[in-house]
Symmetry: C2
């Protein structure tokens, strides 16, 4: 049973609570505690040995722990407000904690997020952040609104994090400058918070690419009951990935682009009529937006290679319970 | 450095966010997302080997995982609404998950709590629940309002959980019926949700006894800048503890009463004028309330034994980073 089946089977239930606008199954839940007031709420758990290595720089980890949650809010179009941290730590190492909280608070301050609660305990290192953001009522960007004919976009570049992970694991070799640049992408991902809020009323569906483009876009298609065609040639990528796509490391490059997680870029659908608006949003936010395909009425995801041929075998999504 | 010093040093910061009514340091944070709307929010993390044993009954664990969070809301006087669960699991054991979620949802349903979000991942077993409740604006019961002359109360009985833990660890012997009854108290604590809401406007300060009476009451005294005197003789207890108090297991009994955690009863202060109101609340909710002492202007906690003598050595509070 994979992670999504597990959640669906054991945790997803209908509720009679009409204040729950969006429950389990999107980037964040949305509740309406008062008329006209909606909150987006999400939780993410990072486990040592799975989401980060024991020797990770604690300041970067502090950043990333919050960043992955901010990314969930960005994908809903919400403005981040408050965070809570549950943390299991093997010891009360003051230097580690000082660095971790420095990284966490530096990012929190940039987005005006207040840490309002926490629980610390001893145990195998585990960091669990709950984030709460606000939304104008009815304005959440869900995964369910994509329509046939919509364009499919991604922000930034994809595959960076997986490529540098491959280099760190000795599966490929990167020059020093590229390694440093991509390592920052892996360790200090930049949540697309401003972009997400600008996409309200523009994107018809959105999520953040945390598990890989194919798998994550698949969630939009499933929820929106549509299909899509995307073009490998148009997926935005760094030069180091671009080189590999045409060489003997093509397989790795395809995996990075299509199945690489941890980039925390936004993937979204928008009507063709929104192209001008999106150009302006890209310019205003400084985040490149690239059109990589089209939503189709026919379900399923069709990935087209650089020669215009549909790919038969597409690298899949990351699954916490399969790997 | 103990857990509280660690939180204070690394996580507690002032915020300029005026919507944060109560930040880190109480049973729950309180935020005001809209005028007239206040939410109490709390997070609790349970780690295998620390808060529960690997062979714990998963249905009981599902109950307890949510119960400890509901208890935090009860201590604020909030009405529980929504919960999120972050869970690391060593495997996707379907039987375990089915039992765990059965216990969790049974309790959630009793208190009309909707599980709105979650994150599951593989890792050493760790369960992190965030709970959100609502409050009439300005009505949260904090730890900071106790005044000299107030009575000090606890609900239910104290020390049950620690006594049964001692029995399970072979440090004392309980007859089978007592063992079963107290084991339920340890494994399926009953959060005092209805009581907490009734205490709004009545209690001047409150918290839940999760780490032991002396340590937890100490938080009220510190925040309220007052002291207290409590009488061992008046602390409500089950017969099995009462017997031990007068015998050769007196030390264990005192530890259970004064330092035993995990009972999740409420400890609160209230003006003497509220005694009648509290009798009515106890009757209505079916939860016994016992007056165990008095708030004093002089700071510090004075614990008086059955002979009226101040105890010199008082068993202390549980600390996740000291033990």
């Amino acid at each position: 049973m994979n992670e999504f089946a597990l959640i669906e089977r054991f945790f997803q239930r209908s509720t009679h609570d009409s204040a729950v606008r969006i429950g389990i199954g999107d980037d964040a839940a949305v509740v309406a505690p008062a008329p006209g007031c909606e909150l987006a709420i999400s939780v993410d758990m990072l486990v040592e040995g799975r989401h980060f290595l024991p020797d990770v720089d604690p300041e970067s980890l502090g950043h990333k722990t919050l960043a992955v949650n901010l990314s969930d809010l960005a994908a809903m179009g919400a403005k981040p407000r408050w965070a809570l941290l549950g943390g299991a730590l093997p010891d009360a190492d003051e230097r580690w904690l000082a660095a971790f909280t420095r990284g966490l608070f530096a990012l929190a301050d940039r987005f005006d997020v207040a840490l309002i609660g926490g629980d610390t305990t001893r145990g195998p290192r585990n960091l669990c952040v709950t984030i709460i953001g606000e939304l104008p009522a009815g304005c959440a960007i869900t995964r369910a609104g994509a329509r046939p004919g919509d364009d499919v976009y991604v922000s930034g570049t994809l595959g960076d994090a997986m490529l540098v992970l491959a280099a760190l694991q000795g599966r490929t070799v990167l020059d020093e400058a590229t390694l440093a640049a991509l390592r920052a992408r892996l360790e200090r991902p930049e949540p697309r918070v401003a972009l997400g809020q600008r996409l309200r009323g523009v994107a018809t569906a959105a999520l953040d690419v945390s598990d890989g483009l194919v798998g994550d876009l698949g969630h939009i298609l499933e929820r929106s009951r549509v299909g899509a065609q995307i073009d490998v040639a148009s997926i935005p990528r760094v030069p180091a990935l671009d080189e590999r796509l045409g060489g003997r490391e093509r397989e790795l490059a395809l995996s990075c682009l299509l199945a690489g997680g941890d980039d925390y870029e936004l993937c979204f659908a928008a009507a063709a009529a929104a192209r001008d608006a999106l150009r302006a949003i890209a310019r205003d936010t400084g985040v490149p937006l690239t059109r990589i395909g089209t939503i189709t009425a026919q379900t399923g995801l069709r990935v087209v290679d650089e020669n215009g041929n549909a790919m038969a075998a597409v690298p899949g999504a990351f699954d916490h319970f399969r790997q």
